[in-house]
Protein backbone atom coordinates (compact mmCIF):
# COMPACT_ATOMS: atom_id res chain seq x y z
CA UNK A 1 0.00 0.00 0.00
CA UNK A 2 1.24 3.44 -0.90
CA UNK A 3 1.82 5.53 2.17
CA UNK A 4 1.64 9.16 3.11
CA UNK A 5 4.75 11.00 4.18
CA UNK A 6 4.88 13.90 6.53
CA UNK A 7 7.97 15.83 7.56
CA UNK A 8 7.67 18.05 10.60
CA UNK A 9 10.36 20.67 11.26
CA UNK A 10 13.05 18.38 9.92
CA UNK A 11 16.73 19.33 10.15
CA UNK A 12 19.57 17.25 8.72
CA UNK A 13 23.23 17.61 9.65
CA UNK A 14 26.55 16.46 8.27
CA UNK A 15 28.58 16.62 11.49
CA UNK A 16 28.37 20.25 12.60
CA UNK A 17 26.97 21.51 9.30
CA UNK A 18 23.24 21.90 9.07
CA UNK A 19 22.37 20.92 5.49
CA UNK A 20 18.61 21.43 5.71
CA UNK A 21 16.55 23.34 8.18
CA UNK A 22 12.93 23.29 9.23
CA UNK A 23 11.42 21.24 6.42
CA UNK A 24 7.71 20.70 6.95
CA UNK A 25 5.64 19.13 4.22
CA UNK A 26 3.07 16.47 3.48
CA UNK A 27 3.15 14.08 0.56
CA UNK A 28 -0.04 12.24 -0.26
CA UNK A 29 -0.07 8.55 -1.25
CA UNK A 30 -0.21 7.62 -4.93
CA UNK A 31 1.16 10.91 -6.13
CA UNK A 32 4.38 12.10 -7.70
CA UNK A 33 6.17 14.89 -5.91
CA UNK A 34 9.17 16.56 -7.54
CA UNK A 35 11.81 18.36 -5.52
CA UNK A 36 13.74 21.01 -7.42
CA UNK A 37 16.31 23.62 -6.54
CA UNK A 38 19.90 24.69 -7.18
CA UNK A 39 22.86 22.46 -6.33
CA UNK A 40 23.50 22.23 -2.61
CA UNK A 41 19.97 23.25 -1.66
CA UNK A 42 19.44 20.05 0.31
CA UNK A 43 16.84 18.36 -1.87
CA UNK A 44 18.82 15.11 -2.16
CA UNK A 45 19.67 15.25 1.52
CA UNK A 46 16.00 15.58 2.33
CA UNK A 47 15.21 12.62 0.07
CA UNK A 48 17.77 10.51 1.88
CA UNK A 49 16.32 11.35 5.27
CA UNK A 50 13.04 9.77 4.22
CA UNK A 51 14.43 6.22 4.15
CA UNK A 52 17.17 6.82 6.72
CA UNK A 53 19.91 6.68 4.11
CA UNK A 54 21.27 10.01 5.31
CA UNK A 55 22.51 8.64 8.62
CA UNK A 56 24.66 6.04 6.84
CA UNK A 57 27.38 8.69 6.52
CA UNK A 58 29.55 9.15 9.62
CA UNK A 59 28.40 12.10 11.71
CA UNK A 60 25.18 12.54 9.80
CA UNK A 61 22.04 12.94 11.87
CA UNK A 62 18.46 14.13 11.68
CA UNK A 63 16.20 16.01 14.06
CA UNK A 64 12.47 16.57 13.80
CA UNK A 65 9.86 14.09 12.69
CA UNK A 66 9.44 12.05 9.54
CA UNK A 67 6.12 10.25 9.57
CA UNK A 68 5.18 7.39 7.32
CA UNK A 69 1.41 7.06 7.76
CA UNK A 70 1.70 8.55 11.27
CA UNK A 71 4.60 6.33 12.27
CA UNK A 72 7.85 8.20 12.95
CA UNK A 73 10.61 6.48 11.00
CA UNK A 74 13.04 8.00 13.52
CA UNK A 75 11.00 6.73 16.47
CA UNK A 76 12.70 4.68 19.20
CA UNK A 77 13.13 1.05 18.27
CA UNK A 78 12.46 1.55 14.56
CA UNK A 79 14.78 -0.62 12.46
CA UNK A 80 16.35 1.42 9.63
CA UNK A 81 16.58 -1.70 7.48
CA UNK A 82 12.82 -2.16 7.76
CA UNK A 83 12.36 1.49 6.76
CA UNK A 84 14.53 1.03 3.69
CA UNK A 85 12.58 -2.09 2.77
CA UNK A 86 9.36 -0.08 2.83
CA UNK A 87 10.87 2.87 1.00
CA UNK A 88 12.70 1.91 -2.17
CA UNK A 89 15.26 4.07 -3.86
CA UNK A 90 16.54 4.59 -7.39
CA UNK A 91 19.77 6.49 -7.91
CA UNK A 92 21.28 8.81 -10.46
CA UNK A 93 23.55 6.26 -12.07
CA UNK A 94 21.92 2.95 -12.86
CA UNK A 95 23.57 0.55 -10.40
CA UNK A 96 22.59 -3.02 -11.21
CA UNK A 97 24.65 -5.56 -9.25
CA UNK A 98 27.39 -5.98 -11.84
CA UNK A 99 28.04 -9.68 -11.45
CA UNK A 100 24.38 -10.70 -11.36
CA UNK A 101 22.08 -11.69 -14.19
CA UNK A 102 19.03 -9.62 -15.05
CA UNK A 103 16.86 -12.13 -13.20
CA UNK A 104 19.05 -12.24 -10.12
CA UNK A 105 19.15 -8.45 -9.98
CA UNK A 106 15.39 -8.21 -9.85
CA UNK A 107 14.88 -10.88 -7.19
CA UNK A 108 17.92 -9.94 -5.08
CA UNK A 109 15.80 -8.09 -2.53
CA UNK A 110 13.27 -10.90 -2.30
CA UNK A 111 16.01 -13.49 -1.71
CA UNK A 112 17.42 -11.24 0.98
CA UNK A 113 13.97 -11.20 2.55
CA UNK A 114 13.95 -15.01 2.57
CA UNK A 115 11.79 -15.86 -0.44
CA UNK A 116 13.11 -19.18 -1.76
CA UNK A 117 10.46 -20.85 -3.94
CA UNK A 118 11.44 -20.64 -7.58
CA UNK A 119 7.82 -20.18 -8.67
CA UNK A 120 7.40 -17.16 -6.39
CA UNK A 121 10.65 -15.63 -7.55
CA UNK A 122 9.78 -16.22 -11.21
CA UNK A 123 6.39 -14.60 -10.77
CA UNK A 124 7.85 -11.62 -8.95
CA UNK A 125 10.59 -11.20 -11.55
CA UNK A 126 8.12 -11.14 -14.43
CA UNK A 127 5.70 -8.92 -12.57
CA UNK A 128 8.38 -6.42 -11.61
CA UNK A 129 9.95 -6.33 -15.05
CA UNK A 130 6.52 -5.77 -16.56
CA UNK A 131 5.90 -2.95 -14.08
CA UNK A 132 9.16 -1.39 -15.18
CA UNK A 133 8.22 -1.73 -18.88
CA UNK A 134 11.28 -3.89 -19.42
CA UNK A 135 9.84 -7.42 -19.68
CA UNK A 136 9.42 -7.53 -23.45
CA UNK A 137 12.97 -6.35 -23.99
CA UNK A 138 14.65 -8.84 -21.66
CA UNK A 139 12.37 -11.86 -21.31
CA UNK A 140 14.56 -13.94 -23.65
CA UNK A 141 17.78 -13.13 -21.88
CA UNK A 142 16.99 -13.11 -18.20
CA UNK A 143 20.19 -15.08 -17.49
CA UNK A 144 22.43 -12.48 -19.13
CA UNK A 145 24.28 -9.91 -17.01
CA UNK A 146 22.30 -6.83 -16.04
CA UNK A 147 25.35 -4.72 -16.75
CA UNK A 148 25.04 -5.62 -20.44
CA UNK A 149 21.85 -3.59 -20.88
CA UNK A 150 21.75 -0.04 -22.19
CA UNK A 151 21.72 2.80 -19.66
CA UNK A 152 17.98 3.34 -19.96
CA UNK A 153 17.34 -0.39 -19.62
CA UNK A 154 19.64 -0.60 -16.62
CA UNK A 155 17.73 2.18 -14.92
CA UNK A 156 14.45 0.39 -15.58
CA UNK A 157 16.08 -2.78 -14.21
CA UNK A 158 16.89 -0.85 -11.03
CA UNK A 159 13.28 0.30 -10.86
CA UNK A 160 12.14 -3.32 -11.31
CA UNK A 161 14.50 -4.33 -8.52
CA UNK A 162 13.09 -1.60 -6.28
CA UNK A 163 9.44 -2.48 -6.90
CA UNK A 164 10.06 -6.26 -6.59
CA UNK A 165 9.99 -5.99 -2.80
CA UNK A 166 6.71 -4.06 -3.02
CA UNK A 167 7.77 -0.91 -1.21
CA UNK A 168 5.23 1.70 -0.13
CA UNK A 169 7.26 4.63 -1.32
CA UNK A 170 9.68 5.03 -4.19
CA UNK A 171 12.41 7.65 -3.93
CA UNK A 172 14.20 8.67 -7.11
CA UNK A 173 17.34 10.76 -6.97
CA UNK A 174 18.00 12.24 -10.41
CA UNK A 175 16.93 8.98 -12.06
CA UNK A 176 17.28 10.28 -15.61
CA UNK A 177 20.31 12.54 -15.49
CA UNK A 178 22.53 9.85 -17.00
CA UNK A 179 20.01 8.91 -19.71
CA UNK A 180 19.29 10.10 -23.24
CA UNK A 181 16.02 11.98 -23.93
CA UNK A 182 14.07 8.97 -25.18
CA UNK A 183 15.06 6.77 -22.23
CA UNK A 184 14.18 9.72 -20.02
CA UNK A 185 10.67 9.92 -21.47
CA UNK A 186 10.33 6.14 -21.04
CA UNK A 187 11.16 6.46 -17.34
CA UNK A 188 8.74 9.39 -17.01
CA UNK A 189 5.95 7.36 -18.61
CA UNK A 190 6.80 4.54 -16.25
CA UNK A 191 6.55 6.85 -13.24
CA UNK A 192 3.09 7.90 -14.33
CA UNK A 193 2.06 4.24 -14.40
CA UNK A 194 3.70 3.43 -11.08
CA UNK A 195 1.97 6.21 -9.22
CA UNK A 196 -1.24 4.16 -9.23
CA UNK A 197 0.50 1.97 -6.66
CA UNK A 198 3.28 3.95 -5.06
CA UNK A 199 4.02 7.26 -3.50
CA UNK A 200 6.83 8.65 -5.63
CA UNK A 201 9.27 11.41 -4.77
CA UNK A 202 11.75 12.50 -7.39
CA UNK A 203 14.68 14.86 -7.02
CA UNK A 204 15.59 16.40 -10.31
CA UNK A 205 17.79 19.17 -11.66
CA UNK A 206 15.63 19.16 -14.73
CA UNK A 207 12.80 21.57 -14.04
CA UNK A 208 11.03 20.55 -17.22
CA UNK A 209 11.01 17.00 -15.97
CA UNK A 210 9.46 18.12 -12.70
CA UNK A 211 6.84 20.04 -14.66
CA UNK A 212 6.07 17.08 -16.91
CA UNK A 213 5.75 14.26 -14.44
CA UNK A 214 4.81 15.53 -11.02
CA UNK A 215 1.53 16.32 -9.31
CA UNK A 216 3.21 18.56 -6.77
CA UNK A 217 6.52 20.37 -6.82
CA UNK A 218 8.62 21.53 -3.91
CA UNK A 219 11.29 24.17 -4.34
CA UNK A 220 14.36 24.12 -2.07
CA UNK A 221 17.02 26.79 -1.95
CA UNK A 222 19.87 28.18 0.14
CA UNK A 223 20.38 31.80 1.09
CA UNK A 224 24.12 31.57 0.46
CA UNK A 225 27.18 29.33 0.80
CA UNK A 226 27.31 27.51 4.11
CA UNK A 227 23.68 28.21 4.98
CA UNK A 228 21.17 25.41 5.34
CA UNK A 229 18.76 24.50 2.57
CA UNK A 230 15.11 25.33 3.13
CA UNK A 231 11.87 24.43 1.50
CA UNK A 232 10.63 27.69 -0.06
CA UNK A 233 7.28 26.37 -1.20
CA UNK A 234 5.48 23.24 -2.24
CA UNK A 235 2.30 23.34 -4.27
CA UNK A 236 0.40 21.81 -7.16
CA UNK A 237 2.78 21.56 -10.11
CA UNK A 238 0.60 23.57 -12.53
CA UNK A 239 0.50 26.34 -9.93
CA UNK A 240 4.27 26.30 -9.33
CA UNK A 241 4.98 26.54 -13.06
CA UNK A 242 2.34 29.10 -13.94
CA UNK A 243 1.95 31.27 -10.87
CA UNK A 244 4.16 30.35 -7.91
CA UNK A 245 3.44 32.07 -4.60
CA UNK A 246 7.05 32.91 -3.82
CA UNK A 247 9.16 35.28 -5.85
CA UNK A 248 12.25 33.14 -5.22
CA UNK A 249 10.51 30.20 -6.88
CA UNK A 250 9.56 32.34 -9.85
CA UNK A 251 13.14 33.65 -10.15
CA UNK A 252 14.50 30.12 -10.10
CA UNK A 253 12.12 28.49 -12.57
CA UNK A 254 12.38 31.41 -15.00
CA UNK A 255 16.17 31.15 -14.87
CA UNK A 256 16.81 34.44 -13.11
CA UNK A 257 18.96 32.82 -10.45
CA UNK A 258 20.36 29.45 -9.44
Amino acid sequence: MAKRIEAVDLDAYYGGFRAIEGVTLTIEPKSITALIGPSGCGKSTFLRTINRMHEVLPGARVTGQLLLDDEDVYGPGVDPVGVRRAIGMVFQRPNPFPTMSIYDNVVAGLRLNGVKKKGDLDDAAEQSLRSANLWNEVKDRLGKPGAGLSGGQQQRLCIARAVAVEPQVLLMDEPCSALDPISTLAIEDLMTELKDRYTIIIVTHNMQQAARVSDRTGFFTIDGPGTPGRLVEIDETPKIFSNPSEKRTEDYITGRFG
Binding site: I182, L185, A186, E188, D189, T192, Q208, A211, R212, T237, P238, F241, S242
Partner: protein, 214 residues
Protein backbone atom coordinates in the same frame (compact mmCIF):
# COMPACT_ATOMS: atom_id res chain seq x y z
CA UNK B 1 5.39 7.75 -25.52
CA UNK B 2 3.97 10.64 -23.52
CA UNK B 3 0.47 9.32 -24.05
CA UNK B 4 -1.19 11.45 -21.39
CA UNK B 5 0.23 14.62 -22.84
CA UNK B 6 -0.91 13.74 -26.35
CA UNK B 7 -4.34 12.80 -25.05
CA UNK B 8 -4.57 16.22 -23.41
CA UNK B 9 -3.63 17.91 -26.68
CA UNK B 10 -6.33 15.92 -28.49
CA UNK B 11 -8.85 16.84 -25.81
CA UNK B 12 -8.25 20.54 -26.46
CA UNK B 13 -8.97 20.09 -30.16
CA UNK B 14 -12.05 18.05 -29.27
CA UNK B 15 -13.29 20.92 -27.08
CA UNK B 16 -12.78 23.38 -29.94
CA UNK B 17 -14.84 21.12 -32.17
CA UNK B 18 -17.57 20.97 -29.57
CA UNK B 19 -17.57 24.76 -29.28
CA UNK B 20 -18.01 25.10 -33.04
CA UNK B 21 -20.97 22.73 -32.88
CA UNK B 22 -22.59 24.67 -30.06
CA UNK B 23 -22.17 27.92 -31.98
CA UNK B 24 -23.59 26.33 -35.15
CA UNK B 25 -26.63 25.08 -33.27
CA UNK B 26 -26.96 28.44 -31.54
CA UNK B 27 -27.00 30.41 -34.78
CA UNK B 28 -29.76 28.19 -36.19
CA UNK B 29 -31.84 28.67 -33.05
CA UNK B 30 -31.13 32.41 -32.90
CA UNK B 31 -32.23 32.79 -36.51
CA UNK B 32 -35.45 30.92 -35.76
CA UNK B 33 -36.00 33.09 -32.68
CA UNK B 34 -35.44 36.23 -34.75
CA UNK B 35 -37.70 35.31 -37.66
CA UNK B 36 -40.47 33.70 -35.59
CA UNK B 37 -40.37 36.07 -32.59
CA UNK B 38 -39.81 33.04 -30.34
CA UNK B 39 -38.91 34.39 -26.91
CA UNK B 40 -38.32 31.01 -25.24
CA UNK B 41 -35.88 29.99 -27.95
CA UNK B 42 -34.09 33.34 -27.68
CA UNK B 43 -33.67 32.82 -23.94
CA UNK B 44 -32.39 29.31 -24.55
CA UNK B 45 -29.72 30.62 -26.92
CA UNK B 46 -28.65 33.31 -24.46
CA UNK B 47 -28.32 30.79 -21.64
CA UNK B 48 -26.52 28.38 -23.94
CA UNK B 49 -23.59 30.79 -24.13
CA UNK B 50 -22.54 29.67 -20.64
CA UNK B 51 -21.56 26.27 -22.03
CA UNK B 52 -19.48 27.93 -24.74
CA UNK B 53 -17.78 30.19 -22.23
CA UNK B 54 -17.05 27.22 -19.96
CA UNK B 55 -15.34 25.44 -22.85
CA UNK B 56 -13.44 28.63 -23.62
CA UNK B 57 -12.07 28.84 -20.09
CA UNK B 58 -11.34 25.10 -20.08
CA UNK B 59 -9.32 25.24 -23.29
CA UNK B 60 -7.41 28.26 -22.06
CA UNK B 61 -6.58 26.59 -18.75
CA UNK B 62 -5.59 23.31 -20.39
CA UNK B 63 -3.43 24.99 -22.99
CA UNK B 64 -1.75 27.11 -20.36
CA UNK B 65 -1.05 24.03 -18.28
CA UNK B 66 0.47 22.14 -21.21
CA UNK B 67 2.59 25.14 -22.21
CA UNK B 68 3.87 25.48 -18.67
CA UNK B 69 4.56 21.81 -18.11
CA UNK B 70 5.16 19.93 -21.33
CA UNK B 71 7.54 22.07 -23.37
CA UNK B 72 5.56 21.53 -26.57
CA UNK B 73 7.59 21.91 -29.75
CA UNK B 74 7.02 21.83 -33.51
CA UNK B 75 3.52 20.63 -34.48
CA UNK B 76 2.44 20.31 -30.85
CA UNK B 77 3.46 23.90 -30.18
CA UNK B 78 1.50 25.10 -33.20
CA UNK B 79 -1.56 23.16 -32.06
CA UNK B 80 -1.44 24.83 -28.65
CA UNK B 81 -0.73 28.38 -29.74
CA UNK B 82 -3.27 28.10 -32.54
CA UNK B 83 -5.87 26.63 -30.19
CA UNK B 84 -5.48 29.61 -27.90
CA UNK B 85 -6.41 31.85 -30.83
CA UNK B 86 -9.15 29.66 -32.31
CA UNK B 87 -10.85 29.51 -28.94
CA UNK B 88 -11.12 33.30 -28.92
CA UNK B 89 -12.65 33.30 -32.41
CA UNK B 90 -15.22 30.71 -31.39
CA UNK B 91 -16.04 32.50 -28.17
CA UNK B 92 -16.60 35.72 -30.09
CA UNK B 93 -18.74 33.87 -32.61
CA UNK B 94 -20.79 32.60 -29.69
CA UNK B 95 -21.23 36.18 -28.50
CA UNK B 96 -22.61 37.24 -31.89
CA UNK B 97 -25.14 34.43 -31.63
CA UNK B 98 -26.18 35.84 -28.27
CA UNK B 99 -26.48 39.32 -29.78
CA UNK B 100 -28.83 37.91 -32.42
CA UNK B 101 -30.97 36.25 -29.77
CA UNK B 102 -31.04 39.47 -27.76
CA UNK B 103 -32.50 41.36 -30.73
CA UNK B 104 -35.30 38.78 -30.83
CA UNK B 105 -35.86 39.12 -27.09
CA UNK B 106 -35.86 42.92 -27.14
CA UNK B 107 -38.48 43.10 -29.86
CA UNK B 108 -40.72 40.37 -28.52
CA UNK B 109 -43.71 39.99 -28.92
CA UNK B 110 -43.15 41.83 -32.21
CA UNK B 111 -40.92 40.20 -34.79
CA UNK B 112 -37.55 41.90 -35.17
CA UNK B 113 -37.50 41.04 -38.85
CA UNK B 114 -40.01 42.66 -41.26
CA UNK B 115 -41.56 40.36 -43.86
CA UNK B 116 -39.54 41.89 -46.65
CA UNK B 117 -36.27 40.92 -44.94
CA UNK B 118 -37.26 37.53 -43.55
CA UNK B 119 -36.06 35.46 -46.51
CA UNK B 120 -32.64 37.11 -46.53
CA UNK B 121 -32.20 36.76 -42.77
CA UNK B 122 -33.14 33.08 -42.99
CA UNK B 123 -30.58 32.64 -45.73
CA UNK B 124 -27.92 34.36 -43.66
CA UNK B 125 -28.75 32.06 -40.75
CA UNK B 126 -28.47 28.97 -42.95
CA UNK B 127 -25.23 30.18 -44.46
CA UNK B 128 -23.80 30.90 -41.02
CA UNK B 129 -24.75 27.46 -39.80
CA UNK B 130 -23.15 25.77 -42.81
CA UNK B 131 -20.00 27.82 -42.37
CA UNK B 132 -19.78 26.91 -38.69
CA UNK B 133 -20.40 23.23 -39.41
CA UNK B 134 -17.61 23.35 -41.94
CA UNK B 135 -15.41 25.14 -39.42
CA UNK B 136 -15.98 22.26 -37.01
CA UNK B 137 -15.01 19.75 -39.67
CA UNK B 138 -11.89 21.76 -40.46
CA UNK B 139 -10.93 21.74 -36.76
CA UNK B 140 -11.56 18.01 -36.41
CA UNK B 141 -10.06 16.81 -39.70
CA UNK B 142 -7.53 19.56 -40.50
CA UNK B 143 -8.76 19.39 -44.08
CA UNK B 144 -7.06 22.37 -45.72
CA UNK B 145 -9.21 22.29 -48.86
CA UNK B 146 -12.28 22.73 -46.70
CA UNK B 147 -10.47 25.48 -44.79
CA UNK B 148 -9.90 27.31 -48.08
CA UNK B 149 -13.59 26.91 -48.98
CA UNK B 150 -14.50 29.00 -45.95
CA UNK B 151 -13.21 32.08 -47.80
CA UNK B 152 -15.65 31.45 -50.64
CA UNK B 153 -18.49 30.81 -48.21
CA UNK B 154 -17.66 34.09 -46.54
CA UNK B 155 -18.01 35.89 -49.89
CA UNK B 156 -21.55 34.49 -50.07
CA UNK B 157 -22.24 35.87 -46.61
CA UNK B 158 -20.87 39.29 -47.59
CA UNK B 159 -23.19 39.29 -50.63
CA UNK B 160 -26.16 38.47 -48.40
CA UNK B 161 -25.27 41.31 -46.07
CA UNK B 162 -25.12 43.69 -49.01
CA UNK B 163 -28.52 42.49 -50.19
CA UNK B 164 -29.94 42.96 -46.68
CA UNK B 165 -28.70 46.55 -46.53
CA UNK B 166 -30.18 47.27 -49.94
CA UNK B 167 -33.55 45.95 -48.78
CA UNK B 168 -33.38 47.99 -45.59
CA UNK B 169 -32.69 51.14 -47.58
CA UNK B 170 -35.52 50.38 -50.00
CA UNK B 171 -37.88 50.41 -47.04
CA UNK B 172 -37.34 54.18 -46.95
CA UNK B 173 -36.70 54.43 -43.21
CA UNK B 174 -40.33 54.10 -42.13
CA UNK B 175 -39.49 51.83 -39.22
CA UNK B 176 -36.17 53.05 -37.90
CA UNK B 177 -35.99 50.51 -35.07
CA UNK B 178 -36.50 47.62 -37.47
CA UNK B 179 -33.90 49.10 -39.78
CA UNK B 180 -31.34 49.33 -36.98
CA UNK B 181 -32.05 45.78 -35.80
CA UNK B 182 -31.81 44.35 -39.30
CA UNK B 183 -28.56 46.22 -39.93
CA UNK B 184 -27.09 44.98 -36.67
CA UNK B 185 -28.25 41.42 -37.29
CA UNK B 186 -26.66 41.52 -40.73
CA UNK B 187 -23.47 42.75 -39.18
CA UNK B 188 -23.49 39.93 -36.57
CA UNK B 189 -23.92 37.24 -39.22
CA UNK B 190 -21.13 38.76 -41.25
CA UNK B 191 -18.76 38.94 -38.28
CA UNK B 192 -19.58 35.33 -37.38
CA UNK B 193 -18.49 34.22 -40.82
CA UNK B 194 -15.31 36.31 -40.56
CA UNK B 195 -14.33 34.50 -37.38
CA UNK B 196 -14.92 31.19 -39.14
CA UNK B 197 -12.57 32.27 -41.92
CA UNK B 198 -10.01 33.22 -39.28
CA UNK B 199 -10.31 29.73 -37.78
CA UNK B 200 -9.67 28.30 -41.25
CA UNK B 201 -6.48 30.38 -41.52
CA UNK B 202 -5.34 29.29 -38.09
CA UNK B 203 -5.89 25.60 -38.84
CA UNK B 204 -3.90 26.06 -42.04
CA UNK B 205 -1.06 27.50 -40.01
CA UNK B 206 -1.42 24.71 -37.45
CA UNK B 207 -0.96 22.08 -40.14
CA UNK B 208 1.62 23.69 -42.41
CA UNK B 209 3.46 26.16 -40.21
CA UNK B 210 2.89 28.70 -43.00
CA UNK B 211 0.72 31.72 -42.51
CA UNK B 212 -2.26 31.86 -44.85
CA UNK B 213 -2.63 34.94 -47.06
CA UNK B 214 -4.87 37.31 -45.18
Amino acid sequence: MRDTYHDQLDAIVQDLFQMSQLVARGVTQATAALTRADLALAEQVIEGDDAINALYRGVETQAFDLLARQQPVAGDLRVLVTSLRIVVDLERAGDYVVHLAKIARRRHPASAVPDALRGTVLEMGQTAQQILDKTGTVIATRDLELAAELEVDDDAMDALQKRLFTLVLQDGGQDIEAAIDATLAGRYYERLADHAVAVGHRVTYMVTGEHAEV
